[in-house]
Structures are given as C-alpha cells and as structure tokens.
Amino acid sequence: MCRYPIARPRACGLLLLATFVCGVFSSGSRAQDPDALRQWGQRYEREILPLVQSHCLECHQGDDPSGEFDLSGFLTADSIVAKPLIWEQVGKRIRLNEMPPEGSRQFSDPEKGRVYAWLDARPQEDECRNLATDETQAWYKGFVMSRRLTKTEYLNAMRDLVGMEVDSRFEIPSDGAGGVGFDTNGSTLFTSPIHIEQYLAAADDLLQRAFDDPDTRRALLPSFEPSMEVTDQSRAALARFGLRAWRRPLGDGELDRLMRLYEFAQSQTPSDAGSTPRDESTEPMETSWPTNALNGLRYAMTGILISPNFLFVVEAEAPEGGVQRLSDYELATRLALFLWSSVPDEELLAAAAEGRLATEAGVLDETRRMLADPRARALGENFGLQWLGLSHFLTSAKPDVEVFPEFDQALAQDLREEVVRTIAGVFQENRPLLELIDSSTIVANGRLARYYGVDAEPDADWQRWDVTSLPRGGVITAGAVLMHTSYPRRTSPVLRGRWLLEEVLGARVPPPPPGVPPLEESVTEQVVSLRVRLELHRRNPECAACHNRMDPLGFGLENFDALGRWRDNDHGVAIDAQGTLPGGQTFQGPDELKQVVLSRSEDFQRHFSRKMLGFALGRELTKFDDCVVDDCLEALAEGEHRSRAVVETIVTSFAFQHRYFKAAEAP
C-alpha cells in the first residue's frame, strides 16, 4: 500500500523529482571515466536491477512515486551511467536501514552485501582544480556574485567604517536567502526604492552624529595641518575614507567627483545647526578642521556611503571573461564578508596593497588574525544563526505565555546569545568542530547557566562553564534550538527530529503528502501520550518511511520542554526518552542521542562544510565545489578536527579565490 489517499496533480511529482536529481547531483563527488562507468552500469543491470524490481519499484514509480523519487527511469545500464550520483543518496538510505521502510519486504544480508559492493565500486575521478572549463561553463550560467551587501553586512560595515551604529529607526528591509540557504546568495538579493531611501537617510544621520562627536570625528578624519592647503587635506581625507568604504584605492576621476560634492556642500549656506561641530571652542585651534571643510567632507562621505561602490560587492573583470583570479582587494573583501560580515579593516587592505594576499601563506595569516578578532563573532551571529534557522529567533520564538509564563524577551536574548557565542567561539578559539554536537562546556552568562542547572552567580558575565555532569553542550541541546523546534504550547519530537536530520546531518525529509490521513477518531478522542499517537501514525507504512527516521531522534530530546528546560515528567507522565532507529539501534536520552549523531559525524562535517562554503561563496554549489568539501573533511581529519581547518580550506580554495566571468556585453 503505497498510494497516498489523495492523488496529487501529475506535474507535481515530476517537478519534485527533477530537483531531487539535481540536488543529489551536487552532493555527489566526481565525474567519472566513461569505460569504468559503463561497466559499473552493466553490473547494475545484472546484479542490482532484480533487487530494485522486487523491493523498490512497487512504491517508487508511477505518477506519484513515494518520496517524489521515481526509479522507473533507472532500469538500464545507460540510465545509471547518465545519473550516477543518485546512488549515493540511495545507498545512504539503505545503509541506515531507512529503506525499504518498516512493513515492506526487507533485503536479506547477502542482498545488502551485493548492493553495498556495487555502490562502493562506483568509479571516481578527481576534478578539484576545475572551477569551470569550456565544457562545464554551463554550470555557472547565471551565477551572480556582484551583489549588494546584505542588511547584516551593511550595518556592520557602517559601524566599522564610521565608528557608530546606524540608528535603529532606519530600518533596512530584511533579506531572503537562496543557494544553500544564506542571505549572501547574490541571486536572492534585491534592491527596492525603500533601500535607497533608508541608505540615504541612515548615512546622512550617522555621519551627522559622527561629526558632532569629537572622538568619532577624530578617528574618522586625519588630523588637520593648518600649514597645508585645506582642499588637499580634504581630498586626502576622502581618499582614506573611500579606500575603506570601497575596499580599493580611488581613482583620480573618482576623487574629482567627490570633491565636487565637497564643494557643493561648501557653497550651501551653513544654516543647519546640526552640521556645525559643537566642540569648536574646546578644541585647540590648530588641530581643528574649518567648519566649511567639515560640511563638505560630511557631504562627500555621505556620497561614498550610498554609492554602489560601497553597497555592492563589485568584482570587475576583463572584457574577455573566463575564469580569473580575483584581485587582491577583491579577495580581501571576500575574506571580510565571510569572516566578519563586514568590510576589510585597514590592516587587511594593507595586506592587499602589499601583495601579501597573493600567497597562500599570506591569506592564512590574515585569516588567522581575523578569526581571533572580536568581529569574527559574525560567524556565529550571521552564518551560525542562519545555518540553524534561528535568524529571526527573537521575533519568531513565541512560547504561549499562558503555558509558559516564565518566558520573556530577556530569556530569548540570552538563548540567542548563547548560540552566537558557541558557534563563533568554536572558530575564534579553534576548538574541535564536533563540539558543536557534543561538548563538556557551554557558553552562558550567570542567569542562563542557572537556567541550565549550573551552580552560578546570577549576575556572572558570559563565560565557559563545565557541564560534564549535565545533558548540555553543543547546539542540539541549546535552549534556542529546543524552543525553535517546539510548538507554542508543547514539544514536538517530529519537528526536533526533522531539524536534527536536516540542519545537522544534512539529510532530506520530504514534506508530508497533501491530505495527511487523520488518525482514527476512536483513537484521537482518547487521551493518549504523544508517543502513542505518533506510534499509531507510523503504523501506516507511507508515514513510517519518514517518521521512523525523525521521531526517534526527537524522542531522545523529550526530556527538554518547549522552553528547553530539563524535565522528568510531562503533566505527571514520566518522560520516556528512548528512541529506536530504523536499523534497530536503540538509545536513551540526549547523551546517547549525541553519540548516535557522532557516529554519523561524517555526514555532519560534510553538511557543515557545504553550508559554510555556500555562505562564503554566496551562491549555489555545483559538483565541482564538492572537491572543496572533500578537502575540508580531509583537513579536519588531519588537524584533530579543529574547526579552522574548514575555514582555511575554504579561503585557500580555488573556488573562493577565482571567479567565472561571462564576457561583457558589447556596449
């Protein structure tokens, strides 16, 4: 019985299958030697096809194949050869005993052995240094990298450039995400008139305040030399600020145009009291800029901050197109956006100017320096929160106050901050990547530490606490995650299990089919535990295929309530935190659950590396990018799984330092 009770429109399954195929394609590894591949396909026809026909096809074919996965196109050697990478996913599901699902005819051990041996024999070939060749350029069609800054990057950059935060009343619209799931993806960043309005108003206001504040102004401008020409000094000040904001030296023509803005502002009668610095009298005359010059500078700097040279990541190219290495300045910008979600600082720009980014060692030096910098917090706050689906945690976490009167915004902020610091900390301190799964420490302030049951002073500052004796450590048991994966009034083992599979292990869980059948009324009317209800649900084989994967993982976390607090019982019923995986493996509670996840740590590392690479590149990944992911895994294995291996592999990768350009259009 494999049909869903309500048939879906036909086009639906086919469309979904198409993506499934593409998606799987990009998660495989290499292109293959044609002869070896053909033999591998013929072996499929001989040895594997009979098993597929007897065990799989009943559900995985037709207009509405289970899991939107149709195997009826894979009945010949040729079809296998055409799409070899699908079998990586199929193999994974079989090895985890997730397929065939419970209640269906299972493979015998010798049959499994035959499948595994065939899967392992898939021919492989290395293509790591091929970002794109003439034959493979089709992969890169439409890839956009010259994108505008994201909201986060914009706000960080303004802060780092000017030394003050943009006032929150200038609300920059939020960004959606694309590619592997991040807002850095060029093709999902759009510019609307409200952006321009807000950029203009925000820059105007920020510079006004910065110029009004003596300390900020001093940091922003070189000191004034009365003996020198004012105009020359102003030009130099704009060149210095422009270099930071536009991440490259400005050309003479550009400076000329900025000086025209400068002169325009000077020509205006200064009647706006706010534009005159207030500390004129307290500052020694010889070090202060003339008011007129300050007005001109402020105005021209506003121009710098609303220019596309600032707002866009401009990676210019030679007219002939093709694959090119980025300029050192462009590379500096990519590094700063990746590690800081901001623009380069003076030191990084100096490294670019001096040619130090031209060597791998130079790039690594800067990377290490930047990771140790407080600005690397962005890896937690931007990359980390997006990876875990927590970007809007403060506004989306809505436990029901009736059930959870203890919940308040302060708690939500603490929980969010914990995740930010945990993820950033792993990179800043170069800790093992697997600490994100299981760790003997947590990062918390006193209030949050006590929330988790650590004996701490309530007003203790943020720090690392030992939680060896507590079921905490890592992101899976972080309160923010446990809350994010709950309903307003109760926990959901399904949501938690699905979250763990997707965000941590990188597995795919298809959405429930439309028109999910109701549980029989005689059952729903009884008061039964969630576990019993879900078990009833899983008796239906079409539900079981996915729920057998998700629910047990979620049950392992049942000791945490919808606010992420530990509990031994739920409304008087003792918590049963046991889970049984499709393969029959059982575990008990969060600690053992983490061991289960660690036993699949390669899946996690691969998924995490993909996520980070996609974030860094700001685009979808292709099969060539899998070389970088493989390199990340290798580097992790060689470096005691220290997290920086991933970052260092990415920043030195061919894909990060190069770009494929399509030839420019003739004017």
Binding site: P9, T19, F20, G23, K141, G142, F143, V144, S146, R148, F170, E171, P173, S174, G176, A177, G178, G179, G181, S187, T188, F190, S192, P193, I194, I196, E197, L200, A201, R257, L261, S271, G303, I306, S307, P308, N309, V314, E317, Q386, H392, T395, K398, D400, E402, Y487, P488, R489, E502, P511, P514, G515, V516, P517, P518, E620, F661, K662, A664, P667
Partner: protein, 447 residues
C-alpha cells in the same frame, strides 16, 4: 466626525501650515505653487491584502449566491458592511496546481503565472503583480507610487526538500517577474515615508539629496560597465531604485499634478504617528490605519499588505478557544477540534478586514466615502490549508470602485475560472488598458 469639522484643511493648506510636521514622503514638505480651487472626482484607491494558510472552505463559502445570501460562520463579521462587499468563490489559480504546497502558491498570488522552482537562481514569479502594474500606470500622480506592507521579516533559508527559496513566501508584490519589492514591516518607517521626517530647511535638503543621487547614478553607470553580463541586472535594480527616489523628490518639488484635493486635518495625521506595536493584533491594526491614512491623504493609490508570511507559525492563542499556531492548525487533518480552531482564526481575519472597510467607509469623500472609491481585495493563495488547493480561493472584494462594482452579493463561478479575470477587471477600472493579465480569459463580471 472630522470631515465636517470647521478646522478642516485642504492638503495644501495643511502643508503650508504644518512646519514641524511634514507631509511628503520620506522627504520634507516643500513649498508649493499656487493653490488650485476646484475639487475634482476622488481617484480610485487599490488595496491587495493577503492572509496565509487558507481557510476551512465549508465554514467560509456561503451556501446561497446573489444579494440574499446568508453569511457563512467565517464571514459573519462582515454583517455591518456587507452591502459594500463582494464575496467571490470558484476562482482558481491554475499555474499553482504544480509545485510545492506554499511557495509556488504565494509568490504568484498577484501575478497568476507559474513560479519558477528554484533556490534562488533565475527566480521568477511568472510576471509583474497586478498592484505593481497599476502603480506603474499611476506613477507620478501621487507622492508614492505604491506601498508594500507586512508584519514579518522575509523568511530566511531555503526549503531544500521542495527546492524553493523561502523568500517566495514573503512577497506578493513583484515589480518584474524576477524582482520582488521589499516590504515595509515597521509602522514607524511607513509613517515617515508617508508624512516625512521632522527636518527643517526642506528645499535645501531636497537639493542636496538630489545632488547626491546624481552622483551615485554616475557611479552606478561606471560600475555597471565593469560588470559581467549576468551581474549587470543587479545594478539595474539599484539604478531603477535611485531613479524612483529621485522621482519622489521631483514630485515633492514641482507643481501638484492633481485637480482633486484630499481633506485631512493635520491632527488626524499626527494622531496616527505610530509607536512600537505591542503585539501582532496591534501591529496589523496600525498598518491598516496607515493604509487608511495613506489613501485618505492621497499619498498613494496602491497598497499591498501581507497579514503574515506564508507558512506563518504565529501563535493564535490570543483568540479565545485557540491554542496553537496558524500553520499547524491549517493542517487540521480533518480533526474536528483543529478545524474549529482553524475557523476561529479565519473568522478573526475577516473581522479585521471588516473593521478596515468600516474605517474606509467613515471617511467622507466627495459624494460618497473613501470605501466607495476603493477596490480592496482580500484573500489567501490556497483554499483548504490541509490540502493546499489553489482553486476555489477565498476572495473578498470590498469597495465600490467609484460606482463600478455592484457590491453586496455572493458571486460563485464555475471552478477553474481564473483569479486573473478579477485582476483584469481591477486593472481596467484603473484605466490600465490591457488585453489580458496573467492567465485571464475575460474580465470578471463584478459590475
């Protein structure tokens, strides 16, 4: 009522008299030329209001058609205003039958065309949305061509299972098939866009902003040349947006092109200066009030609003009898208890909509009310949330369209009547002379 108060101002008098409180979009009030005397006919205003996650059809669709229909349980809150509402059923969005349950249904709510299945690359809603097409047609007649409002930030991430970027669930307004319009969710910012920031010395500020925008347009042209072909269109978005802001400034500094003048007392505008909304209900209320005000002051004639993003998991237990979140309850699994709660949420949406119409109806304008001169569409992009069907959509149309809509009826069409037929009818009422829109077959007969 304020419209009959002796302190009534015309818009221009108000602008001249209000020095601190400025009444032009984003920028400042600027002194105007001569004041026109004649009041023309009030213009048509258009609102497109979306709510997520569908409805329980049996509780929504009235059983009878025509003028004597009985309001269904979910539509009961319309009672007081029913003579000015059309209930439309049987409308369908055929290009949403494929694709996933949500994203492929919502992004094209106002385009009616197929949504490209993508996690970002070559994104497309299939066409320009009906609100944006009207806005383009009316460009230059009001300070702002359109407003796009919401209550939630863009959904982050991609849904790798169904293969769509989630941003599709956050946008119904599309300037082009590949360019969603950012929506404003902060009432404070909306207010400032509509009625200006408190700045002095306006003419000079306008001049200085214009000069800056000229500077960046030159920059953008230079940058554009250095980019590869696939990147240039991203710069075009920037260029178009800068030009749009320039047009706003331009509008503010030249002669008002309108013959008709709205009447709004400055106190009315000032009284609506929003604070930070306490909760969702308040947030929606403020947004709707701002829409009334935007229409009332003729700051714009086109507005779209998303009550929430698609798949919104907002907790609705603020309603008596509801104890779960919206999306969760919309997947009611035909469970009676869940359906009951789902219906309460549906009903609440109708209530808020009805209140909005009533407010529009309280604004006297020429011979009738603001509502009489409006076309307010309200609906969802799926019918039953459990099945995600894009046919028999729950659609209401409030307002008289300047005497072009025969309201107060339930009109039921055969299944598979394109929703775009309605859009065609709305477009033509705005003077947009098109043969067809989206998958329209003919103009929907609502007159």
């Amino acid at each position: 009522m304020s419209h009959s108060s002796p302190t009534r101002y015309t818009r221009r008098r108000f602008l001249r008299s209000a020095q601190a409180m400025l009444a032009l979009p984003f920028l400042p009030s600027l002194s105007r030329g001569t004041v026109h005397g004649a009041e023309g006919t009030p213009p048509l205003r258009n609102a497109f209001i979306y709510f997520p996650n569908g409805v329980w059809e049996r509780g929504w669709k009235p059983e009878q058609t025509g003028a004597d229909y009985q309001l269904s349980p979910s539509l009961e809150p319309l009672e007081a205003i029913r003579s000015k509402v059309l209930v439309l059923s049987g409308l369908d969005k055929k290009h949403s039958h494929g694709g996933d349950g949500h994203y492929a249904k919502t992004a094209n709510f106002l385009t009616g065309m197929p949504v490209a299945k993508t996690t970002g690359k070559d994104i497309s809603s299939g066409g320009i949305s009906v609100d944006q097409l009207i806005a383009q047609h009316l460009a230059g007649q009001t300070p702002l061509p359109s407003l796009e409002l919401g209550t939630e930030p863009v959904i982050s991430g991609v849904d790798s299972n169904v293969g769509y970027t989630r941003l599709y669930g956050s946008h119904i307004s599309w300037q082009t098939p590949s360019r969603p319009v950012a929506k404003e969710i902060n009432p404070r910012v909306v207010y400032e866009r509509l009625f200006g920031r408190k700045v002095t010395d306006d003419q000079r500020r306008a001049e200085s902003y214009r000069n800056l925008l000229d500077f960046v347009l030159d920059d953008a042209a230079a940058v554009r040349q250095r980019l590869g072909r696939d990147d240039q269109f991203k710069l075009d978005e920037y260029l178009d947006s800068v030009r749009a802001v320039e047009m706003q400034i331009e509008y503010a500094t030249r002669q008002d092109p309108r013959e008709w003048e709205p009447n709004v007392a400055p106190e009315v505008v000032a009284a609506h200066e929003p604070g930070v909304p306490g909760d969702f209900r308040e947030h929606i209320d403020i947004m709707l009030n701002l829409m009334v005000l935007a229409f009332q002051t003729d700051s714009t004639r086109v507005c779209s609003l998303m009550f929430a993003n698609d798949v919104s998991g907002r907790n609705f237990s603020f309603l008596e009898g509801v104890n779960n979140s919206h999306h969760e309850l919309s997947h009611h699994e035909n469970n009676e208890a869940k359906i009951q709660q789902y219906q309460l949420i549906n009903r609440w949406h109708t209530e808020v909509f009805a209140r909005f119409l009533e407010r529009l109806d309280q604004v006297q304008e020429g011979e009738g009310t603001l509502l009489d001169h409006s076309l307010v569409m309200f609906g969802s992009s799926i019918s039953d949330g459990n099945r995600h069907d894009p046919d028999n959509l729950p659609i209401l149309l409030g307002g008289g369209g300047g005497g072009t809509v025969a309201s107060g009826r339930h009109l039921a069409w055969d299944q598979q009547t394109p929703l775009c037929n309605l859009y065609l009818a709305l477009l033509r009422r705005n003077g947009v002379d098109v043969e067809r829109f989206g998958d329209s077959e003919e103009e929907l007969a609502i007159g």
